[in-house]
């Protein structure tokens, strides 16, 4: 089975938020909410500074506490490449999954259900990249199947240094940041 993942090259990302805007329009994300966002982290003292910029979103964890905590099965691991999705028809809006996510990747949609990044499921089933990946002007995001040894994502992880966010939470996140 496929295991979809995103690999994001922080050395190229300029933090322009294009990925955020693209997600907004592609997925009609309501005003005031973000499925993805940018984190700028600066360390050091002027002028000797280092900055890392990351485009963040749901990590489509391999060990997703949001799914385990969901009382209805609305949050689930999809057959499509193991991505984590919410079935809006099943969701009761109890928000347990929100509390369970260490990345605060979820939010309550104004219509009542819980929403978050879907990895643009509707696009990937058509063979397209997710909207954020497809629009990023620096081409710093890569999407693909980690089970496929020839995929770009796999090759990048084999050849570059990377890390994931908060691995200590044990969620096995599937967004990899090249450093």
């Amino acid at each position: 089975m496929a295991r979809y993942a995103m690999v994001i090259d922080t050395t190229k990302c300029v933090g322009c938020m294009d990925c955020v805007v693209a997600c907004k329009t592609e997925n009609n994300v309501p005003e005031g909410f973000n499925r993805d966002w940018i984190t700028y982290e600066t360390i050091g003292k002027f002028p000797t500074l280092h900055m890392e910029i990351r485009s963040e979103r749901c990590n489509h964890c391999d060990n997703p506490p949001c799914v385990y905590t969901c009382p209805t099965g609305a949050s689930h691991i999809s057959d499509i490449g193991g991505i984590v999705l919410v079935d809006y028809q099943k969701c009761i809006g109890c928000k347990a999954c929100i509390a369970a996510c260490p990345y605060d990747a979820r939010f309550v949609h104004p219509d009542g259900y819980v929403s978050k990044c879907t990895f643009c499921e509707h696009r990937i089933v058509q063979g397209l990249d997710p909207a954020c990946v497809a629009s990023c002007p620096t081409h710093c995001m890569y999407f693909g199947d980690l089970e496929d040894p020839n995929s770009e994502v796999k090759k990048l992880l084999n050849s570059r240094k990377y890390r994931v966010l908060n691995p200590e939470t044990g969620t096995k996140p599937q967004i990899y940041y090249l450093i």
Partner: protein
Amino acid sequence: MERLTRRKFLQISGTTFAGAGLLVGGTKMIQSTLSANEKNKGVVKIPSYCSICFWKCGLIGYVKDGKLWKLEGNPIDPLSRGRLCPRGNGGVGQHYDPDRLQAPLVRISNRGGEEWKVTTWDEALNYTSQKLVEIKDKYGPQAIAVFSHGPGGAFLKHTLRAFGIKNFSAPSFAQCRGPREVAFELTYGEIIGSPERTDIKNSKCFALIGSHIGENMHNSQVQEFAEAIEKGATIIVVDPRFSIAASKAKYYLPIKPGTDTALLLAWINVLIQEKLYDRDFVDKYTFGFEQLKEYIEPFTPEWAFVETGIEPNLIRETIRELARYKPASFVHPGRHVNWYGNDVQRIRAITIINALLGNWNRKGAFFKPVKMEIPKYPYPPYPEMDYEVVYNPNSKYPFAGEEEGLTQGIRSATITGEPYPIKAWIVYGTNLIQTLPNQKETIEAINKLDFLLVIDVIPSEIAMWADVVLPETVYLERYDELNISSFRVPFVGIRQPVVAPPHDQRDGWWIARELAIKLGLEKFYPWKHIEEYLRYRIESAGLSYEQLKTDGIIIGEEQPIYVDDGLNLEFPYTNTGKIELYSTQLAAKGFSPFPTYERPPEPPPGYFRLLFGRTPVHTFSMTQSNPILMDMVAENEVWINSDVAETLEIKNGDYIVLKNQDGVVSNKVKARVTQRIRPDCVYMYHGFGHTSRRLRRAYLKGASDAQLITRYDIDPIMGGTGMNNNFVTIEKV
């Protein structure tokens, strides 16, 4: 995984357009295409080009069940390369902005009173033409001045030229890139142009002097910047602020603001002293090297250190790095370069470094832009007018622009009535209140006018001063002039409606044409609908108009753009036929033929220099009403160095006000306490702090840099307004 290949994309859009391409003529056509879209359930894709900034990226509009859904880059477009920038993607919000102008307005109160009557197009245009004729009869056509920014004004300018107007201006010269174009023209006989001819993607090493690429989101430039990072290019960033670009740089030079010319002179000094320059190139193609060598001697890195605060070693190391990779290395010419009022001299220093690197039209530095040849539409000639333009009396600024004029020159003439009175302004697509330095002068000038016409898409601040406000359709709803940019390949792009306008807004070409008819200038519009005009031009270039509509872009034949590809290196447009290290033209006009450094004024104690720039998600002051982009960044912040903030007891997120040297107090604005800026300056995004109440989302959100820029220093060479010499104090609220 199957990707959307180019061919497949063409098939999809091809079928979409099978019908549209056949329709010709009349306004009806637009309506029928659009209502067809509305009826059409499902997704329709329509290519066009973006107008949220002047990069003009090719886009594809997605219309779902008749409603605008999203925008994507057109994959065959060389500017977007299939990807739009955040503003381009957010263009959807221009269409949906609930605060848009909806119908023509005519003022019924005094200026500043903000009371208008909604009127019909016929009435508004009748009134406008009446006013223009009145003023022309009384004062002559020279009493009417035009501010027009962006491609949308093409037809309006056509009408007004036919009416006898010569006083045209755009902020793109005196507030933006004028000094750069003048400096390059002086040195090389050629300009840099927009989109810039920099070959970032192939570069092995380049220096950015302030240019904050990554925040400045000019699309292909950002894309190439990332490519250069990926290929491991050595990046040198010179900026008082640790910009995004600085965070990607191998060398970050935290320069003291306004001292860049000192650094650049020191770089030239080292290039020559250490014989790092390209000797063959210099011998063959440049003029004035020996004098330069002599001139540059005192400007050592040690000298520059005192001015710039950059360690001599770092100065040496960075220029050596640039020299190591020549000719695939360059110093970026910048874009918004009207900083200190002596900017041509600074950019001249940049031109000289590049010449010493021998990188002109060389891969990895500058390429020779190429352009599609598209014949003009055969109009009758404009009337001959023998008056002098108003903005540059007696050629006070010998190298001032012609096409783009001097905006603030028109403004001062309006205030003083010298060299002759200006009685009407026509403003298209430029928010002069935020764009020009010193708002008081702008308002003073406006109050001297008999008539102010503003054509805009939102109730912008300038529109709120107008006597007549004409609401244009936004770029996604209209046809427009072709995009024939000079770039890496010749190409032409079309702007065509993706969706119908929501209210009674009209296209710029239609407004221009109707106005022309009311002014008795029909003969300048032999066509009735712009599609006839576009078709004529495209077909007379031997291209297929249908193809252009379907694909959005037609690419011409590739041509050599580098010496490396067999291009000849010639400099026919300079006096000497060579690259003028020594500028004969400057010398002839009594300016220093070599770049001069002037120490910028110091901020008084307790004051900080006010710097400003771009946020990636907004364009100047035109997107703060856009619901999508405002959702990204809703207000600007003032960047304050953490150590300074600590002594001022300001915490991150506190609201503060800035007060400038002339006592002007800003709107309240959040403090961003950060290590990413020098302690002697503060920084903010341009474009916020709107004062038009009708922009509900933007009204008094954040503070306006423009409001605080009361002082501006005019470049004596070309008349640009340096805006970085304003100082502010910080007060908590």
